[in-house]
Amino acid sequence: MRLRPYLRALQVQTQVTLRYRGNVFAFLSYVLIPPLAVFFLWRAVLGGERALGGYDLSTMVTYYIVTQYFVANTAFSAWTDIGEEIRDGRLTLWLLRPASHYGLYFARNIGGWIPYWIAGLLGAAAVAGILHRYFLLPQEPWRIPMAVGFWLLGVVLAFTWGYILNLLSFWTERSTGIVLMADAAAVFLAGGFVPLDILPLKEIWLLLPFRFAGWFPTQIYLGRVGFAELPRELGLLLGWLLTFLVLQKLIWRLGLRRYQGAGG
């Protein structure tokens, strides 16, 4: 497979995003504000050395800062243009190109997100600075790259999931509602609202793959997952990813058989 068109798509999309740098920095609010707001709630609940589900105030504050960075920078809905292009017939232009549609959109997606990832680090650092009394660094340095590695695989998984949902536009009039519904569900299931292991019915939430895009990498960061557990979790993550990729290929082929390119 020639990588050049994909790398070029990635590069171009990064440049497009960087044209509006103010817009990128405005996105910082998504990384910065929710952990700050939720801090006041947890200070009221966990102040005075109390703990909930093994989380004391410092662990909880760190959880929200790290998870919010991961979840806010993951495209659970892939790219809503995919569904809209199927609906109005613009997909035809993509079919003429000698490259994979999934691959091109994945490259564009990553390219578009890279500036946000970098800016998001500044936001996370700022909120960690503001709440420095409570923010924890991992005791073992390897936990940071390991958490990021798992999260990046989680990003691929989340993109593939969102891509599959967009492909449902081959069968429905409009898939925006489906994609946005799945987006809200995925943010919740990734642990973006509440740590999954303190929720009622946690066994269900922890069975699903979305935890790899937020909750699980943060557990690695916090030292709540041992090194010995990582190979098994990596196997599970890759298993889910493979399943999604096969499903994506299948739906794409079935959808193309139905596609007429007339739009409307």
Binding site: Y20, G22, N23, V24, A26, F27, S29, Y30, L32, I33, P34, A37, V38, F40, L41, R43, A44, V45, L52, G53, T172, E173, R174, S175, T176, G177, I178, L180, M181, A182, D183, A184, A185, F188, F193, V194, I198, L199, P200
Partner: protein, 258 residues
């Protein structure tokens, strides 16, 4: 005249939305997930504690329901405001300026979203459940509650309006209006968790705490008419600021786009 135009816009939008029923259904489920996330957060906490900063489980759930109602009303009625940056950037604001209706009103109501109204019962359901945990609330308290909710909606709408007016000075600001929605995070939690200067800030300059907390405080009998007066004063402040920004912005607008 202006009211008739607004009602016509709403009716056209309703017809358009009904064309995509399946999509609306999924939008409803998306709203359900968001409301459930708020409920589950408090359920996880109240499973292990009796009160958060003096707020009981019922009061906290009433907060979740009230905020959901407020946000869905805003999403349903006022999301058209989000288009202002795009119209300024593309130089298309004349389409609105040339019509015989106050432009901010037309902007606010030209994209009424039926799907969000479908999600309104979610918040109402959570509020009803919360009230079942809070016995002895007299019916007349729903009058100040509703009045406070309407004031909150107007304050929130004006906050969004003030923010999108900045598009007259900034080239592209699609992500900027998310700022106000992100700030709404502060409205999700009981007022008691904020103290000192932060509490003052969140009830005056960035009046996010009054949005859902004040209606719930009035409903549960923990606040009086002074809360309504406070909301009215904040509303007047934001209305003045919004008018100022709009007028200054229009003077700057060239209609060239780009």
């Amino acid at each position: 005249m202006a009211l008739r135009a607004v009602l016509r816009l709403i009716s056209l939008r309703v017809k358009w939305e009904l064309f995509f029923r399946l999509d609306a259904l999924f939008g409803f489920v998306g709203g359900l997930v968001q409301v459930m996330a708020g409920v589950l957060l408090f359920e996880a906490i109240y499973g292990r504690t009796q009160a958060i900063a003096g707020w009981t489980r019922g009061e906290a759930l009433a907060l979740v329901g009230t905020l959901s109602i407020l946000l869905e009303l805003e999403r349903a009625l006022l999301r058209g405001l989000q288009r202002l940056p795009e119209l300024v950037e593309e130089g298309l604001l004349e389409h609105f300026l040339t019509r015989p209706v106050p432009t901010p009103l037309l902007l606010a109501f030209h994209r009424v979203n039926l799907r969000a109204l479908w999600r309104l019962p979610l918040g109402i359901g959570v509020l009803a459940y919360a009230l079942s945990l809070l016995p002895g609330i007299p019916g007349w308290r729903f009058v100040p509650f509703t009045l406070s909710l309407v004031l909150s909606l107007a304050v929130y709408g004006l906050m969004v309006f003030c923010l999108v007016c900045l598009s007259f000075w900034l080239i592209r600001m699609q992500n900027f209006f998310w700022l106000v929605y992100d700030l709404a995070e502060f409205a999700r939690y009981p007022a008691g968790v904020y103290r000192g200067a932060i509490r003052f800030l969140l009830t005056t300059v960035l009046p996010l705490v009054l949005l859902a907390n004040f209606p719930v405080l009035l409903l549960t009998g923990r606040g009086g008419a002074s809360l309504l007066l406070h909301q009215a004063l904040v509303l007047a402040g934001f209305a003045t600021l919004g008018m100022l920004l709009w007028r200054r912005g229009l003077r700057r607008y060239q209609g060239a786009g780009g």
